[in-house]
């Protein structure tokens, strides 16, 4: 098996073969309109080993970790875990952080809760 695919399956713990391509994950995704690849595409592209286009896509940073796809998948595939595993594959590489501490001051306003900053760091950076 392709090394990238093997690592993503291990990190996510997802069995992509359980997917029956009903599309409910994408149908319920709050970021659907912003994504180039949608949650169901993440699942079947990983299954087919087409991982590099996913790693290059901005869609990785549109997932809100809201768990709607995880909750509503009728086959318990948990697509968000695949998206997270692909994102981790990217940001675990040296120099590939999507957000750095230097970016933060310009993104703040006086009401911004600390929670927004720590959550974004957890999702976008290593």
């Amino acid at each position: 098996m392709d090394k990238l695919k093997e690592q993503i399956l291990r990190t996510s713990g997802v069995n992509t073969l359980k997917c029956m391509r009903c599309g409910k994950c994408s149908g319920t995704c709050p970021s659907y309109d912003e994504m180039e690849y949608h949650p169901h595409q993440f699942v079947y592209m990983v299954e087919k080993g087409e991982i590099e286009p996913l790693m290059k896509s901005k869609s990785l940073y549109k997932c809100l970790s809201c768990f709607a796809c995880v909750e509503r998948c009728p086959r318990n595939v948990e697509p968000a875990k695949i998206v997270e595993a692909v994102r981790l594959m990217v940001i675990r590489q040296q120099g590939e952080n999507h957000l750095t501490a230097n970016d933060i001051p310009d993104l703040l306003d006086e009401d911004m809760p600390q929670q927004a900053i720590v959550s974004a760091f957890r999702k976008y950076s290593k």
């Binding site: 291990r10 990190t11 996510s12 713990g13 709050p30 970021s31 309109d33 912003e34 940073y61 549109k62 809100l64 970790s65 809201c66 768990f67 709607a68 995880v70 909750e71 948990e78 968000a80 875990k81 997270e84 595993a85 981790l88 957000l99 993104l107 009401d111 911004m112 809760p113 600390q114 929670q115 927004a116 900053i117 720590v118 959550s119 974004a120 760091f121 957890r122 999702k123």
Partner: protein, 261 residues
Amino acid sequence: MKVSYFPGCTLKNKAKDLDKYARLCALKLGVELEEIENWQCCGGAFSMGEDEIASKLSSVRALQYAKEKDQYLVSVCSACHNVLKQTNYQMQNNSDFAFKANNYLAFDNPYNGETKVIHYLELLRDVIGFDKIKENTVNPLKDKKIAAYYGCLLLRPSKVLAMDDAENPSIMEDFIKAIGATPVVYPYRNECCGGYATLEDKNLVNKKSGLVKNSAKNNGADLIITACPLCKYNLEKNNNTDIPVVYITELLAEALGLKEE
């Protein structure tokens, strides 16, 4: 009784009212929120990677602290609660993760998911009881129509969070009834506000928060309540719909006569 309390980073800063009134109201209802010594930030969002260990250790430390005190672990912030609860679930159900976390932390007694993690709303419902809140309500909010905003983190994934029915929840509506107000049920109450994308994609967040506010207002609500500082921020930054957003604990304090003007 006493419970172990994990306030989290935001309740010490931008969401001080959420924290202050949580403590005051609990005390009035017979529960002391005992802050965990030297707690560390939960990280705000749960890392779903099965091989992510380090990012979950601060939660395991808090869980172990509560276990040693033989107390519930309570938080008010939806994000802290979600991270603590999901980490606890991994400690119970993923032996590889639990083995590595315990190896690193080297507690005198290994931690294996023994602590019961509950949200403040569950403390009110299951430990204190909504009847007791009703008895202690001195300012029933009779004329208020209130929309409960659950968002994502209180309910999902439901097999882990196990607080309520993830698609048709009632805990916040029952809370609203206990303080004498009228709950408004609306379609977007458990849909995402846009969350942490607020840092870099205001447009996305504005759309998502707008849907929630419109849905609440169009169904007749005067007020939205939430337990999550980031939900509150995102909803308030959306200017398209004029409806106030307040924390659950502020509303409870008002009903119990503890709100400072």
